[in-house]
Symmetry: C2
C-alpha cells in the first residue's frame, strides 16, 4: 500500500467530515487555507466558525523531508527521509451541553522501511453525561473488537494516561482511545492496520452527530456557560503543557495557526475555583479520573 493512497484517503476523510458538519450546521461554516511547508509538503487547514460549533478545525496535512537528528534519535530511528500524513479535528461547541471532541488519525513512514499508524479520539464534556460516555465507549469498543478484543482495553487505558492533566490530577475528559506505532508487528497486515484507522476515522461523524443531536437544543444557564469557560481553560492547559503533538509542532516550526486551532474561542481562569457540593459540576469533576469502566458502567 502506497503512502499516496493513504494520504488520499485522509484527504477524502477531511472532505466527508466537513460535508457532514456543514449539513449539521445547515450552512457552509469552513474557511480553508492551503499552506506549504518549507521542508516539503503542506496541508489544507479548515477552520470552522458556526452556529453550533463556535470554533474548531478539520485539518489535513501531508509533509515530508529530512528528519531532524533530534527527532529521529528520540523516535529510535536512524537518520532518514520521512513522510507523515493525517487528519486532526477539534470542535468547541457553543452549547456547554455538547462535549468538546478531538480526533486524530495519522500515518508515518521513512525511506528506511519503518512505518506505522497512530491516532485517537477523545471527548471532553463540560458536563459529563453518563449515557453519552457509555455510548461513546461502546461504539469505540465495537470498532476495536473487529481486530481482536484486547485492543479496546489497551487503547482505552492509553487514552486515560495520555489525556491526563498531571498538574490538576484530572483527566481531560471521559477519554476514548489513543494508539501509536500500530503496524504489522502485532496488529496484522498493513491493510488491516489501515482498515482499523479508517474505521476510527469513519466513526467520527456518527459519534459527533449523536452528541450534537442529543444536546444542541438543550437549554443552559449563564452559570453553566461560566463553567464551560473554566473547563475550556483546562483544555488549554492540557494542550499547551502536556500534549506531545502540540509541543512537537510548536518546537519544529509547524504552522502555528493550524496547530493552535485546538484552542477554544474563549476561556476563563478563576483562582482556586471550588465546585458546589452535590452539583452537576462536582459530579463531572469526580468522573474526570482514569480507569472508569464505561462499558459496564451503571448509571446512578
Amino acid at each position: 500500500m502506497k503512502k499516496e493512497e493513504i494520504s488520499a484517503w485522509f484527504q477524502s476523510l477531511q472532505d466527508q467530515i466537513c460535508k457532514e458538519i456543514n449539513l449539521l450546521e445547515g450552512a457552509e461554516v469552513f474557511h480553508e487555507d492551503q499552506w506549504e511547508r518549507a521542508g516539503g509538503g503542506g496541508g489544507r487547514s479548515r477552520a470552522i466558525s458556526g452556529e453550533m460549533i463556535e470554533k474548531g478545525g478539520v485539518n489535513f496535512s501531508a509533509v515530508h523531508g529530512e528528519m531532524p537528528a533530534k527527532i529521529s534519535s528520540a523516535l529510535g530511528l536512524e537518520p532518514n527521509q520521512f513522510f507523515a500524513t493525517g487528519v486532526s479535528i477539534v470542535l468547541h461547541p457553543k452549547n456547554p451541553m455538547i462535549p468538546i471532541i478531538h480526533m486524530n488519525v495519522r500515518y508515518f513512514e521513512t525511506d528506511k522501511g519503518d512505518w506505522w499508524f497512530g491516532g485517537g479520539i477523545d471527548v471532553t464534556p463540560h458536563y459529563v453525561d453518563e449515557k453519552d460516555a457509555i455510548f461513546f465507549h461502546k461504539y469505540l469498543k465495537e470498532r476495536c473488537d473487529q481486530y481482536g478484543d484486547h485492543w479496546y482495553p489497551k487503547f482505552k487505558t492509553w487514552a486515560d494516561y495520555y489525556f491526563f492533566i498531571k498538574h490538576r490530577n484530572e483527566t481531560r475528559g471521559i477519554g476514548g482511545i489513543f494508539f501509536d506505532r500500530v503496524n504489522t508487528k502485532e496488529f496484522g497486515t498493513k491493510e488491516q492496520c489501515f482498515n482499523f484507522v479508517q474505521d476510527i476515522g469513519n466513526s467520527f461523524v456518527p459519534i459527533y452527530k449523536t452528541f450534537a443531536e442529543r444536546h444542541r437544543n438543550e437549554p443552559y444557564t449563564e452559570a453553566q456557560q461560566e463553567w464551560q469557560y473554566l473547563r475550556r481553560s483546562r483544555y488549554v492547559e492540557f494542550n499547551l503543557v502536556w500534549d506531545r503533538g502540540t509541543k512537537f509542532g510548536l518546537d519544529t516550526n509547524g504552522r502555528t495557526e493550524s496547530i493552535l486551532m485546538s484552542m477554544p474561542p474563549m476561556a476563563k481562569w478563576v483562582y482556586d475555583h471550588q465546585v458546589k457540593p452535590d452539583s452537576h459540576e462536582e459530579k463531572t469533576q469526580k468522573l474526570l479520573v482514569k480507569g472508569i469502566d464505561w462499558i459496564n458502567y451503571k448509571e446512578a
Copy 2:
C-alpha cells in the same frame, strides 16, 4: 548574609507591595492562602480580585529540601539540599490601556556553598504606549547603572530573548530586564547582589503606580477589550509553552494554583486574526520585537 534574612526581606516586600496595591484599589483586594510543601517549606499566596486589577497574584515562598537528581544535573550542581525563596507577581488589569506587569525576585542556595540571585520585571501592554516604554526602561536602567553600566544592556537583552513567543515570532511585550545566577563572581559582594535585587523589588510599586495612574481612567471601546482578550491568549501561550519557571513548577508538583496565578481572567483565541493596517493594534504588533532601544527611542 543568612538565607533567613533574605527570605524575611522578600516577605516584607510582599507585604509592602500588597499594601500599596490596596491603596491604589482603595480596598482590601487580596485573598491569602498559606501552604506547605511536602518536601519542606511553603508559601504565602495572595490572589487579587479588584476593581482596577481584574486578576493576579503577589506570591511569596521559601522552600527547601533534597534537590531531585534531574534538576541538580540540569543546573550543573552536585547532589544537594537546596533552599529557594522569592516573590512573584503578575497583574492583569481590567482596563486594556493599563499593561500587564510581571516581576520576580528570587534567591537560591545549596548546602554545598552554591548561591545566586535571579529575577526580572517585564511589561506586556495590550496597546504599546511609547512614553510608558521609555519611562519603564529608563527607570530600570537607572537602577542597574548603580552597579555598573554594562548590566542594563545585558539584562535588557536577556529579557528580549527570554520573554519571546517563539511560535508567534513576537516578544511577550516591551521586555524589561531578566537576570539569573547573579553572584559575587562577576557582580561584587553578596551584599551588592542583594542590594541590586532589593532595588529591583522596590521599583515595582513606583513603576506600576505610574502606569495605573496614567491609564486607569482612560476610556476604551468594546473592540479594544476584544484585542485585550487576544493579547491575553498570547500571554497564556508564552507562560504554558515557553516559561521555564512555570514548566519547572508544574513538572515538580509545585502548588498549581499559585503557579497558574499568572493566567488571565479571560482570554480569547481567533483563528488567524489579522490587524487592520495603520491601526493601534498594528502599531503594537510591530513593536513586539527584540532589540528596540527604548532609552534612545524617538516617539513618532
